[in-house]
């Protein structure tokens, strides 16, 4: 706690540095400047009491329905472009979320996998490219897993006791490119995958020679990489081995700073230990992921035992025998994607909580490669929650604290008295974006609204097209934090009157699960945004 408190005093410098390094925050401030200078905004800001009375898109009376399949289809031009640059689309999603039956199609747009201005054709090209990139990452994961398994075997045969069943398990992994063969047949949409040519190279040989640390890089130009990629049809296309095609960088200005670069990969992934630690924790978390998702994906819930076990073996999952097939399958998908992500973004790697964020995505998105890129889109912002230096989490706790301070000085003074003004008690809500406090459906509803907000900011929507909406509530990167502050403010009376320690507030926050109304929360958050966004 002392560390946290210290961070309050140092927060101006740390938030400065983060805003200069993160175009997301930079964008937001640009947006606010634009907003502040626009006449519409000025007139509405002249009276804060007026602003307070403006109905939010989530107020009960105005609460709109979800984006329906018919509406979704009608939003596209004949060549498959979203009309009006997606303005209407985002507005609709922002006010009511997305119908479950079309989430699969809609999320890649919300999460920035597809540009809002892209044509159907462009998206198909991108999709193929992205699929290959994901598969390259997966192959690297398998090589690394193989290496760590080998080193474990060496250690075990060298002396200490080895458990009986690990031998047979390792044989499964030893067979080259087992997962490729399996996943090509196994994927829920297998027709879209190219089966790989089997090859007999020892998957680890290139890495095992010489210095492990310097060879275990994901540099596409490294010899190990070339050997692997020559098996796929992507070998002679330099663009494919580049994880960040220039087309996307152009579309997404946040890309460069907010996402990991290849240089980072090389410099950070020096030891295999880091990655093997992640691999270990990922597997532990995957087999204990909750089962809430099952009702939302009947196809995956009905997966066969054989298929589930094949996919589990393909990613080297252990200790899953006690699980039902659908949970094994879910766990295997979590492992595959989280591991690929750890490699893709080694600055973050894997941190507990990330599986909470991925689980709803793989429930909705049935193809691993698509789910992976949606997750990448989600993590562009959420990755800051998991940073080792904790700058992201501290900034956010600080923001929640400021919101409470400006909105309710009485409550804030009470928190100060309890030495709880750092708002540490909302830590869990911040880090996994309400996933632990809300039901599956509620979480998705909130996230969709949040994603639509972020997509709007990303696309620079807000200058004119959204002037009306902006008056009500400007899209903010921090919508979630306003919602979190709202959840605390909803309990202000209790906190002030009954609670005399931070522990008690923490317990209150931890027990919010099942007692929250998302749309009320968003409505309250909206009021906070309207009244406070220029102060925070």
């Amino acid at each position: 706690m002392r560390t946290l408190r210290r961070s309050h005093t140092s927060s101006p410098s740390s938030s400065n540095s983060s805003s200069s390094s993160s175009p997301w925050i930079h964008l937001r401030s640009v947006f606010l400047v634009v907003a502040a200078s626009s006449p519409a905004y000025c007139s509405s800001s002249s009276s804060s009491s007026d602003r307070g009375r403006l109905k939010s898109p989530w107020s009960r009376r105005k609460r709109k329905h979800t984006l329906s399949p018919q509406q979704w289809r009608s939003l596209f031009t004949p060549d498959g472009k979203l009309r009006h640059g997606g303005v209407k689309f985002l507005k609709k999603v922002r006010s009511g979320g997305v119908d479950p039956s079309i989430r699969l199609e809609v999320w890649p747009f919300l999460l920035g996998v597809y540009n809002l201005n892209s044509s159907k054709e462009e998206r198909e090209v991108l999709r193929t490219q992205k699929r290959k990139e994901y598969e390259i990452l997966r192959r690297q994961c398998r090589r690394l897993l193989k290496c760590s398994d080998d080193s474990i075997n060496l250690r075990e045969t060298g002396g200490t006791n080895s458990s009986g069943d690990s031998g047979s398990f390792n044989q499964g992994i030893d067979s080259p490119d087992y997962e490729d063969v399996v996943s090509a047949r196994d994927s829920l949409s297998s027709e879209e995958r190219n089966p790989y040519v089997e090859h007999s190279n020892h998957p680890c040989s290139a890495l095992m020679e010489g210095d492990l640390g310097s060879r275990q890089v994901t540099d596409p130009n490294s010899p190990a990489f070339d050997t692997e990629s020559s098996d796929s049809d992507s070998s002679d296309d330099p663009e494919v081995s580049n994880t960040f095609p220039t087309t996307e960088s152009e579309n997404d200005p946040s890309k460069e700073d907010s996402s990991p670069s290849r240089t980072e990969v090389q410099s950070k992934l020096h030891t295999s230990e880091d990655f093997s630690t992640w691999q270990r924790i990922i597997r532990l978390d995957a087999v204990r992921a909750n089962e809430e998702w099952i009702a939302y994906s009947p196809t995956q819930a009905a997966v066969s035992v054989e298929r589930a076990c094949r996919s589990a073996e393909a990613v080297g999952l252990r200790d899953y025998e006690h699980l039902e097939p659908c949970r094994i399958f879910h766990a295997a998908r979590l492992v595959a994607i989280l591991e690929a992500y750890a490699l893709y973004d080694p600055e973050i790697g894997y941190c507990q909580g990330m599986s909470d964020l991925l689980s709803p995505i793989i429930t909705v998105i049935t193809d691993d490669h698509e789910a992976f890129w949606c997750f990448v889109g989600f993590m562009k912002k959420a990755r800051h929650n998991f940073r080792l230096d904790e700058v992201g989490i501290r900034r956010q706790l600080n923001t929640v604290s400021k919101i409470i301070k400006h909105k309710d000085s009485h409550l804030y003074r009470h928190l100060e008295k309890l030495e709880a003004e750092d708002c540490f008690f909302v830590y869990r809500m911040v880090i996994v974006l309400f996933r632990r406090e809300l039901t599956f459906e509620q979480t998705i509803g909130l996230w969709e609204v949040m994603w639509a907000n972020q997509a709007a900011i990303r696309a620079g929507i807000g200058k004119s097209a959204w002037s009306r909406i902006r008056q009500r509530a400007p899209p903010t990167e921090d919508l979630l934090l306003y919602a979190i502050a709202a959840s605390v403010l909803q309990r202000r009376k209790q906190i002030i009157e009954k609670y005399s320690s931070m522990d008690e507030i923490l317990r209150e926050c931890n027990s919010m699960a099942g007692h929250l109304d998302v749309w009320k929360l968003l409505d309250d958050a909206h009021n906070l945004v309207v009244n406070l966004h220029d102060k925070i």
């Binding site: 909750n290 006690h322 909470d356």
Partner: protein, 222 residues
Amino acid sequence: MALCTEEEQSEDYLFKVVLIGDSAVGKSNLLARFARDEFYPNSKSTIGVEFQTQKMDINGKEVKAQIWDTAGQERFRAVTSAYYRGAVGALLVYDISRRQTFDDIGRWLNELHTHSDMNVVTILVGNKSDLKDLREVSTAEGKALAEAQGLFFIETSALDSSNVAAAFQTVVIEIYNILSRKVIQTQELKKEDPAWMGSGKTIVLHDGNQEVDGQAKKGGCC
């Protein structure tokens, strides 16, 4: 405690005890078993911190153990200092079926010593003793490490309940005993009063009105 007045006998004690150890060694399930007699075979990883307060009867006196639980991943630093602050007991947990978790005990001990007082009553807990066939860490090894580090030692199974209550009781009784005979420590605390609050020394807390009363009690008791 025989020396305590009648007034003090009616007071509650609240001891903060922390659970630490690698991911998935069973920290949350030890707590669930102890506090609610529940067990979740696939409980999710803990995010942030959670805690439970459990009443215990020690020598006819009601003692409350506030048991804190957190994620096993080292990365959650922001949690750390809040987590250890004020802790007087610790359960240092590993999984007898995964050697790695035992190998990491040294790291957790360092962590504990960095963030709290050396006097924190600590027990080394080898959990999942029901997994006999998968055992990778022998009881003797666990015992030896505990002796070398001056820790209590016990093997537990949150799954079949064995020794779970005993593990917590060992810690809480020891804290209680130390407190009962700590006239010297009390005087020491008086001397360095300002530093005491944050240093994680033995804290006795009144029910409800916590730190202030706890401190007052320190001064007044015995």
